[in-house]
């Protein structure tokens, strides 16, 4: 088989949460060796789940939802919840994990040796963290002048918001995304926390890093990349910026409505919490819709006769559409309408997604066996590459799972030194007991 595009590239990844780990994930999918540098002395809250140290978090506090841990077979006393996180185990695929305490000189020395044999060093913390750890570019470039260091913090390396602590959701608050999404008839307090900024900035970071490799192959020079996650997300909201700079108009919320004149909505279907989205852009699609419903009388009303009338009577139209969809299964509505050339698709909760025929046909979900979690179906690649097809080659690593490989094979550490580092608590697979954040404890 052809070599994967990034085979031979080594990346040291110390990113947290979602945006940075996503960027690492894509690089790993394309064949780069991603070495996650983790620590037994640091509680990666949010990265390996919301409270990875405390066993009760695994089963009690996080009740369901994406922040949870695999519950089946969990040993509350000896279990390692940090290896069972729904958050970490989706973006950890194809990476390797090693541990070291970089706050102590010997751990720092190991990191230095690792960076000396790598191509990219990527971090995503708020800048004071890297300053505190003494891992800023002026240090890193002394260790390896040809390294590409990417620091993808919330707001970048300078400016008044440099040290602001944020998640993707908060960056989007600053960017105005939060203000312009959500229900028309509610205020923004009804908005769910979404993290579009993580996927936007995380993906753009991949583009930037591979471009940096391309540039380095031309110039021979390493570089520092100051990436503000907020700025990397900004272009995706370009219409709002343009409307303001062109017309001084502030973009407002529009719920599920289209901004370019189509009529559309999310309509209730038969079953519990099942919904379908329908979009009609022109007369042709409207006529297709009417045909699919058997040309009902209500649709012959003058107020739905042309695109402008339909837009003006959108609320009325929504009521009629909703009455029809509520009698049908959400997938059935898609097929009935698509047959007549109308854009429609079900809202797919995970149970639907796993059985979706398109996902099955494309082989999107991949079955993977994880040493502590067993065999499950994981979301896979969002694209197909014709000559270098990529797959999930290995599951998300357990904390420190590849210490032997990284220390001995990559760095050439001797058996004696390895044993010492293990003794000193750099190498291991268990977080040290008693790690906590803040003064409030569970017991």
């Amino acid at each position: 088989m052809a070599k994967l595009p990034l085979e031979g590239i080594r990346v040291v990844g110390m990113t947290q949460m979602w945006a940075g780990p996503t960027a690492e994930m894509h690089l790993a999918d394309w064949g780069a060796e991603i070495i996650k540098v983790e620590s037994l002395q640091y509680l990666a809250v949010g990265t390996r789940g919301p409270g990875p140290r405390h066993p009760r978090f695994a089963v009690d506090i996080v009740k369901g939802g994406y922040a949870g841990y695999l519950k089946e077979g969990y040993d509350e006393v000896n279990g390692r919840p940090w290896n069972r996180s729904c958050m970490y185990n989706v973006h950890g695929r194809n990476k390797v994990s090693c541990t070291m305490d970089t706050m102590r000189p010997r751990g720092r020395e190991i990191l230095k040796r690792l960076i000396q044999v790598s191509d990219i060093f990527v971090v995503s913390s708020q800048p004071s963290v890297m300053e505190h750890m003494g891992l800023t570019y002026d240090v890193i470039k002394e260790w390896n002048p040809s390294i590409i260091m990417v620091h993808m913090s919330g707001f970048g390396q300078y400016g008044p918001l440099k040290y602001y602590r944020t998640l993707g959701a908060h960056q989007e608050d600053f960017l105005g995304h939060t203000y312009i999404r959500g229900y028309i008839d509610r205020d923004v307090t009804a908005n769910s926390a979404i993290y579009h900024g993580d996927e936007a900035a995380g993906t753009t970071a991949v583009f930037i890093m591979v471009m940096a490799l391309h540039q380095r192959s031309r110039t021979g020079r390493g570089m520092f990349i100051d990436m503000s996650q907020a700025e990397a997300t900004m272009a995706q909201l370009g219409e709002a910026v343009m409307d303001y700079t062109m017309n001084k108009r502030v973009t407002e919320r529009m719920g599920n409505r289209d901004r370019h004149g189509a009529v559309q909505g999310c309509y209730r279907c038969r079953g519990e919490d099942r919904w379908v989205n329908i979009t009609m852009r022109n007369d042709e699609e409207w006529q297709g819709f009417c045909r699919a419903l058997g040309n009902p009388d209500w649709a012959k009303d003058e107020k739905f006769a042309d695109a402008l009338s339909r837009w003006r009577n959108h609320d009325d139209l929504d009521k009629h559409i909703g009455e029809w969809t509520s009698q049908h299964d959400h997938f059935a509505v898609m097929h009935m309408l698509q047959k007549h050339g109308v854009a429609a698709g079900p809202v797919e909760p995970p149970d639907d997604a796993y059985s979706d025929p398109q996902m099955k046909d494309r082989g999107f979900f991949e079955e993977v066996t994880h040493s502590e979690c067993g065999t499950h179906r994981y979301p896979g690649m969002p694209y197909r590459m014709s000559k270098t097809p990529n797959r999930i080659r290995r599951p998300a690593p357990c904390l420190g799972e590849h210490n032997e490989y990284v220390y001995k094979d990559v760095l050439g550490v001797s058996d004696e030194e390895y044993a010492e580092l293990e003794q000193e608590g750099h190498i291991g697979m268990d977080l040290v007991p008693g790690l906590e954040i803040g003064k409030y404890k569970l017991e």
Partner: protein
């Protein structure tokens, strides 16, 4: 000054609307030579999508188009004419990348499938962006921004439990598809340079959402692990601590006063929750209403967004103001970093545009030219292929350009 990183890359751009043009914009702004193929007389349909400069729906005044097509050159070409097909193949011979986002039947129907183009140019990286991918039972289905998010993304958990699920803002799902396509195409190109041959990249917008880190992948795995569906609900309204969006004196603020960070919130509030409530275990849902009505709401309502956020950030509580676009354009952070850039356009004049996604002395980003007028570069591009002024007149008469 350092040469732009992609100044040696040539791209043939057959894309329209949003996802494809955003993909090629990322390349163009870092120096790639992008030739945009548009339909004679009409051009990219995004030219007819708003917002428009001074609300005038002129094809050269679409803010969406102006934003998405910076640094590109435009030529018109009728791909359905024989001459048009021949010219496209001539153009494809010398480029590194071809990007298209037609529905999947179009390129093969035009005789321009990957196999044909590969035989002309074996180094070619071709990227096809579509709603559902180039294969599968949904291949020919129609979709929209809303539909893709509903099928692929975490729409089922966006919104309130007693209301319909709700989309994200604007057209961000399509942008994100283009973003993913750019990353995959850049990587395929890097691989082609390192290891030899080009290849075909098939990007499905539905899959870019199904594989989204914004809650979706983890929600899928939570179902697979625990057979649990993540509920669609107002989390801020349930938690005993302030986590979510709250009204304040001059608007709204977003505050993440998480359970594990209560001590930080205490410092921001300037009071001891331990003393008032007797520790975290007592600080539970039963005391929620008391805390919110007596302490939290009065505290936020008597402060401005900036005051709340500054106090929270000073004590390391994650927080942000809910900005409008106007607030955003006035936000000192982006001004100080020189994020916004001005570009002069022959029809709409000087406008401010969003700037670079990352900053590095080794990766210069620049708007070298504004979005092109329809067919603005016909003569320049076709002359490079060896067509004379006379030839162009004939091609124009024949409807090819």
């Amino acid at each position: 000054m350092t040469e732009q990183a992609l100044s040696d890359i040539r791209i043939l751009d057959l894309t329209r609307y949003i996802s494809g043009p955003y993909c090629t914009k990322l390349f163009a702004d870092f120096g790639a030579d992008v030739v945009k193929i548009e339909k004679p007389g009409e051009g990219d349909p995004a030219r007819r999508m708003g917002p428009f400069f001074q609300d005038d729906p002129d094809p050269e005044k679409s803010g969406l188009f102006l934003h998405l097509n910076t640094n590109k050159r435009s030529v018109t070409l009728n791909l359905k004419s024989q001459a048009g097909k021949r010219i496209l193949k001539e153009l494809a011979k010398d480029v590194d990348i071809l990007v298209e986002n037609f529905s999947p039947r179009v390129m093969p129907a035009l005789g321009l499938d990957y196999e044909t183009l590969e035989s002309i140019n074996p180094r070619l990286v071709m990227a096809s962006i579509s709603n559902f991918g180039q294969t599968g039972p949904y291949r020919d289905f129609k979709a929209s921004e809303l539909i893709i998010y509903g099928m692929g993304g975490a729409m089922c958990t966006t919104g309130l439990g007693d209301c319909e699920p709700v989309k994200k803002g604007l057209n961000v799902i399509q942008y994100q598809g283009g973003n993913m396509a750019a990353a995959a195409t850049m990587t395929a190109l890097f691989g082609a340079r390192m290891h030899g041959a080009g290849q075909h990249v098939d990007v499905s917008l539905m899959e870019t959402q199904m594989g989204s880190i914004d809650r979706r992948m983890s929600e899928l795995l939570a179902y697979e692990y625990n057979k649990e569906l993540t509920p669609r609900m107002d989390i801020a309204g349930l938690l005993q601590y302030p986590y979510g969006i709250f009204p304040c004196k001059d608007g709204y603020v977003d505050v993440a006063g998480g359970f594990m960070f209560l001590d930080r919130l205490e410092k921001a509030l300037g009071m001891s929750l331990m003393e008032t409530y007797g520790g975290a275990n007592q600080f539970d849902v039963a005391r929620r209403e008391e805390f919110f009505s007596n302490i939290w709401y009065p505290w936020v309502l008597e402060r401005t967004r900036r005051e709340v956020v500054d106090l929270c950030q000073e004590h390391h509580v994650m927080s942000a103001p809910i900005n409008t676009t106007e607030d955003l354009l006035n936000e000192p952070q982006f001004k100080e970093r020189g994020f916004w850039v001005d570009a002069d356009h022959p029809v709409v004049g000087n406008l401010t545009y969003p700037g670079r996604p990352a900053q590095s002395s080794e990766l210069p980003w620049e708007i070298r030219r504004p979005a092109p007028l329809l067919g603005e570069h016909n003569e320049e591009v076709y002359a490079q292929l060896g067509y004379s002024a006379d030839d162009l007149v004939k091609l124009r008469e024949g409807g090819a350009i």
